[in-house]
């Protein structure tokens, strides 16, 4: 038990510290790397909670895909961070005001009633002890949450359509495209040509000229 608690504090402190570094870090690449560290620590917390599926998902999806994508964007795009910073300072008072109000609200929530939320009825245990985490999630997603699951699917479909509608410009001339049908329809006759390579020669013969012996260009040039 104490070991669990010790690990909880280890992960939690690292998580908060690296999350703070994401914002503080001057170099955007460092910020993204700290973000990855944050994800790893959050995954650790999930494992302590017994939610191993979510932990793996976090590592695979967020670290493996999203964070790497961030890294790509940060490195590929030429974002002028000095200019962004200038805007930041200009708008800082408004941000501080709004942030301060939200913080005050949160503080008021807990000062008013301590950490006991009071109203809520007792929540059931997240997962029955004898069902594996992943299995329990699967059972819920495809029964109780099937409707919401399909709804999320539709949202992703809209996102795909939207990205294509707003950016795809149709077929441009001069772009080489893959044609699966043409590839499948190829046969050795159209795909390959057998060329006789002159033995002992030292140049590649031109396409039409295929005499048995080399007719070296080098000589012609000389």
């Amino acid at each position: 038990m104490t070991l669990t608690v010790a690990f909880f504090y280890l992960f939690a402190v690292l998580l908060v510290a690296s999350a703070a570094m994401v914002i503080i870090a001057k170099n955007p690449v460092h910020a993204v790397l700290f973000l990855i560290l944050t994800f790893f620590n959050a995954a650790g917390l999930f494992i302590l909670l017994g939610a191993e599926f979510l932990a793996m998902l976090l590592v695979i999806v967020y670290v493996g895909a999203v964070a790497v994508l961030f890294l790509f964007v940060v490195m590929m795009l030429d974002v002028d961070f000095a200019e962004l910073k200038a805007g930041f300072i200009k708008n800082a008072p408004v941000g501080l005001l709004v942030g301060g109000i939200v913080l005050a609200e949160l503080v008021a929530l807990f000062v008013g009633r301590g950490l006991d939320v009071g109203l809520g009825h007792k929540l059931a245990a997240a997962v029955p002890a004898d069902v594996a985490n992943t299995k329990a999630l699967g059972q819920l997603i495809y029964t109780k949450y099937a409707y919401l699951f399909q709804g999320s699917g539709l949202i992703l479909l809209v996102a795909m359509i939207g990205a294509i509608v707003l950016t795809h410009r149709g077929a441009r001339p001069g772009v080489k495209r893959q044609s699966v049908a043409a590839q499948v329809a190829r046969n050795p006759k159209t795909a390959m040509s057998v060329e006789k390579v002159p033995s002992g020669g030292y140049t590649i013969p031109e396409k039409k000229a295929a005499p048995a012996l080399a007719q070296p260009k080098a000589e012609a040039a000389e």
Partner: protein, 492 residues
């Protein structure tokens, strides 16, 4: 509580399923249409559009044929009751009409895009999920589904700076409002222990709930998120810019349909999630404030506008204020009033935007209200329809707009909200000024050159809305009774 999922239990979901499948089928049809044609032939887009209207009609059939009693699926995430069915009928009708408005415009400006009807269908699925949402997760997913489709639709003319700007602005502010909504939803979940509106209602009526700061802050943030979507003052900033920048048929759709869905969502969340004036959280004062601010800002800010799309944006803000009067009265007549108001508002808005679409001269749309000068001489029929619509918007009897306002104010008076009703009437009189000003321009100003020939579909929608506005008094009972039944079905 585990019920087997089969097609028979999903009957109430058929409309959503039909539209989602229809959208995907049309997407496939558009993507795999006969190869070789790099740009769409002008007719292809219209064919897909008519097919989308057919899909909407089939869904309408399933709404009408579906169960009329209250059905709750997926442990309360999806609720099909009289209220949801009433709103779904409105949404489907409005979507079909605004699709009809778009054909001519899209053919001219973005002929290579066939995705517009598909996006519209998916937005309609989102809106139907919104009016049926009985759970905070379902509510959020539904809002995101419709909003995401709307952002893309606003920017559909991607080569046009204004359209892109409208889409981006809408997207950024919409994302902000979603953030607030999620923050509120998470607080509500934290303090009640459930995302289901039914459970939240139980907890919200228990002792101590009315003074629980966490629950109140959560509800306020949730309401702010939804107020963005209905563009109630002070969360209306995006409306004039987006309405002006977006292509006109898209603006017509924005003004007429998604607002209805968001308004219905607000009604359902407040009436079923946080019910009752007694013992519950006092959300009435928030709604009263939103209502008053919207009515007055909408009325006064519209006076200075010369662009008719911006003017209609402020008009829609004011109209949402009037609809909120009904919600503020917290009773059955209030909800009935909201529903009647929304139905009539939809007809008036679609009709007016059809007329705006018809304002074309020399192959380009004109949007200044002075361009309407002397329309009564160049196109008397259109001028007369506009006269009806603007008189109705101003609330002049015996047109439909008068009854819309009558029912919400009546509910407010019954609930003892005299001051709100009186102030509402004053705001309505102020608003009448700019509507009547347009009528004056149409009938008494010196004639400008005639507009280009009006597209048949556009004229059809315009005429249907005009007829509805003038004939409503002849047979008001179907709408009024249906709205009453729908309002009653919200009671648990």
């Amino acid at each position: 509580m585990q019920q087997a999922l089969n097609l028979a239990t999903l009957t109430p979901l058929y409309p959503e399923i039909v539209i989602a499948l229809g959208a995907m089928a049309l997407l496939m049809a558009g993507a795999f249409r006969p190869a070789g044609a790099v740009s769409l032939k002008a007719r292809d887009g219209e064919i897909i559009g008519w097919a989308a209207i057919l899909v909407l009609a089939v869904a309408l059939y399933f709404v009408a044929a579906g169960p009329s009693w209250k059905v709750s699926l997926f442990e309360g995430a999806f609720i099909n009751d009289g209220f949801a069915r009433f709103m779904k009928v409105l949404i489907l009708t409005g979507a079909a009409a605004s699709l009809m408005l778009s054909f001519d415009y899209l053919k001219e400006h973005v002929p290579e895009l066939f995705e517009y009807p598909v996006l519209l269908l998916l937005a309609v699925v989102g809106m139907m999920m919104m009016v049926s949402a009985g759970d905070l997760i379902a509510l959020y997913l539904a809002i995101e589904l419709q909003s995401l489709a709307l952002y893309v639709m606003a920017a559909i003319r991607r080569d046009d700076v204004k359209s892109s700007e409208a889409g981006l602005k809408y997207f950024v502010l919409g994302a902000l409002s979603s953030g607030m909504l999620l923050y509120g939803a998470s607080l509500i979940y934290g303090f009640t222990g459930s995302t289901s509106l039914a459970v939240i209602a139980q907890v919200a009526q228990s002792s101590g709930a009315a003074t629980n700061i966490g629950l109140i802050v959560g509800l306020v943030f949730l309401m702010v998120g939804i107020a963005f979507k209905i563009s109630a003052v002070p969360f209306h900033m995006w409306t004039p810019d987006v309405y002006e920048g977006a292509p006109t048929p898209v603006t017509a759709f924005f003004a007429a349909v998604p607002k209805l869905a968001a308004m219905a969502l607000l009604v359902r969340v407040l009436a079923t999630g946080f019910p009752g004036a007694a013992g519950g959280i006092k959300w009435q004062q928030i709604v009263v404030f939103l209502s008053l601010a919207s009515m007055f800002l909408g009325a006064f800010a519209a006076i200075g506008q010369t662009n008719i799309k911006r003017l209609m944006a402020y008009s829609s803000i004011a109209n949402i204020g009037f609809a909120l009067v009904g919600l503020a009265s917290q009773n059955e007549q209030g909800v009935q009033g909201v529903l009647i108001y929304l139905a009539i508002y939809m007809a008036m808005t679609l009709g007016t935007f059809a007329a705006i679409l018809a304002m074309r001269r020399g192959g380009a749309p004109v949007e200044d209200i002075n361009e309407l000068a002397g329309l009564s001489q160049t196109n008397p029929s259109m001028a007369f329809i506009l006269l009806l619509l603007f008189f109705s918007l101003a609330g002049i009897p015996p047109l439909a707009g008068f009854f819309a306002k009558y029912y919400v104010f009546l509910a407010a008076v019954k609930a003892g909200l005299w001051p709100l009703a009186v102030l509402g009437v004053i705001a309505s009189v102020v608003g009448a000024f700019y509507y009547l000003n347009i009528v004056k321009i149409i009938y008494f100003d010196e004639a400008k050159p005639a507009f280009a020939h009006v597209d048949r579909n556009v004229f059809l929608v315009m005429a249907a809305c005009g007829l509805f506005v003038i004939l409503f008094i002849a047979a008001p009972s179907p709408l009024v009774d249906a709205a009453l039944a729908a309002a009653k079905s919200l009671k648990p």
